[in-house]
Amino acid sequence: MATIELQQVEKKFGELHAVKPMDLTIQDGEFVVLLGPSGCGKTTTLRMISGLETVTSGTILLGGRNVTWLHPSERDVAFVFQFYALYPHISARDNISFPLRAQRESKEVIDQRVKEVAALLRIEHLLNQRPGNLSGGDQQRVALARALVRRPEAFLMDEPLGALDADFRESMRAEIKQLHIDQHATTVYVTHDQIEAMAMGDRIVVMSEAVVQQTGTPHEVYYDPANLFVARFIGSPGMNLVSAVYSEGVVNVPGTENRYSVPDGWASPIGETIGGEGRIVLGFRPEAARVKTDGPLSGEVYASELQGAYSVMHVNVNTDDIVHIRTDRQIDYPIGTQVNFDIDPQMVRFFNPADEAAIQKEVSQ
């Protein structure tokens, strides 16, 4: 297995900038997820790594070898698509062994490797079936087996679970993660589903409008999003973001009585960023808020939703901003009730509305 390095890699389709120059180093054995909405450039990036798409400029290194201008077949990467791309007229076994037969491996090697991957993916009993007779999940397992059997330098996966129904996606997600833990294969995985990205990635590259917004561990992108886009995109619902005005250590939501004193360590970086006082965005995750009679923030219950194990209460803090508060199922306020709440000071974040970037908290001595 190998490292993958992208150095100032860029892609233009005519006037359209599909991927703006990006740098990314993926460690040997790492599972990196490219995450973003459709059209953000994630699939184009993956296709450039595979060689299915040429770069407009920049360099791609695979295991230290410059592969920028090599044909896909010379790069030694394996691609798994959303649609299984299996040959319908031959058995699962022949589908899996196809890349090895193309490489003219001996029959012993082929049989041995097919046996290994089939055991790993628990599809030994399906090897003689044709793809058409298999369920969606089993077809995807066969496609994974075909990718694995080659022992490539890296795996590239383009929304491999996108075509599966929700239940199945959940269990395949765990299976692919398990497979990765067992194999430690360098993997680049593309998805638009933030839950999948969080659940599977060692690191996540969040992309939007052809630009990398943040690269970080699930923990980092969740707790410390680099900007408003990441804050909104990660989480379900996303981070609560309330437009407010900052002055002398206090955040005020315009048109309301809401006044929130910023926790320790925030006043000076906020002051420096926005130049004393002015507009700011207050951010907090739904689970960071607690309903509390003397809480400094308040609003009117707009709706409340049972989501299974817990509820989410939607509260109007002013005419434009609805915040989402995760609560116990037992807590049920009728629509229109005025509620007060507080925020866990460790989980408060601030953003500069001018450039949408997160403000960094002062590091305590």
Binding site: A174, P286, H314, I335
Partner: protein
Amino acid sequence: MSNLQLQNVTKEYPGVTALKKVTFDVQDGEFFVLLGPTGAGKTTTLRVVAGLTKQDEGSVLFDNESVDEFPPAERDVALVFQQYSLYPTMSVYDNLAFPLRSPMRDLPEDEIRTKVEDVAKTLRIEHLVERKTAHLSGGEMQRVSIGRAIVRDPRIFLMDEPLSNLDFKLREALRVELQHLQQHLQKTQGSTTLFVTHDQIEALTMADRIAVLNRGRIIQIGTPEDIYDRPATTFVAQLVGTPRINLMKSQREDGTLRIEKSDLHLPMPPDCGVPEQVQLGIRPEDINIDPEGQFSGQVAITEPLGVETVVHIRSKEQTLISLIPGLVDYRKGDEVKFNIQSDRLHCFDLDGIRVQME
């Protein structure tokens, strides 16, 4: 608004029974959700209510009177579909006004204006009324479709997966909007709604009551709490909740229930009314990792989702899925201790029918 009753509605197509003796009541003003997988018969049920499909047997009643002989137009129901069916060259205003301009209604234009403006305000699309619908986003178009249904003040709203074509974030937002709207309408014009979805979160979050359908049959009717906390069958138990409920064959053994292929013995008094062999259901959030925990196992994988982490815990060959608040970090093979909330266990017999524990 009206109440709605289906009595033993059956519909057969060559080789398939689409609906088999489907019976339920929707109260005046109720938001009633039909939940089930593809092919369960949800859309067929909706079409029978609308009069677009004729049932083979059984009756549909509005306000206790049969509408079986009424063509769709005379049933006075408003349909909202997954695909928006707006007139692309007309403005939002004209789309909303369209049903009111029917010659059958013969409404003066200023009354139409008042109604349209009211609805636009309720749905927060006032700023869009002059625009052509072709220039709207998916979420905006679906709001207009809903607005066009509301403005008619029909006897019943029929909604067929209206949120399914929207992206996830939008779906989340519109779900909240619909719920708010529902409460608003209940106070003003009333709003009996039959809402079809395959999405369990939509059902749990929006419904007053849910009917779970599978292969043309009703499996369970109840409030979201009933469905989630007291699923009638293993099918219902697996249909709601993410991650899915743990479902494991288990055996009574000396005052315990032993989970097959594992070291886990749950205390279970001999007189609890549970048969010798059951399928035991444990929701992932009812497994709590606790250093003092009664049970132990090894971590297989962890999936940090953000607000919580899915931890797969192995005991021998069995894997239990647990849901732990916050982002926790365990490595494969870590030993963990955990508790299982004994008052939240679900037992089903081998046919998948819920067993009441005493």
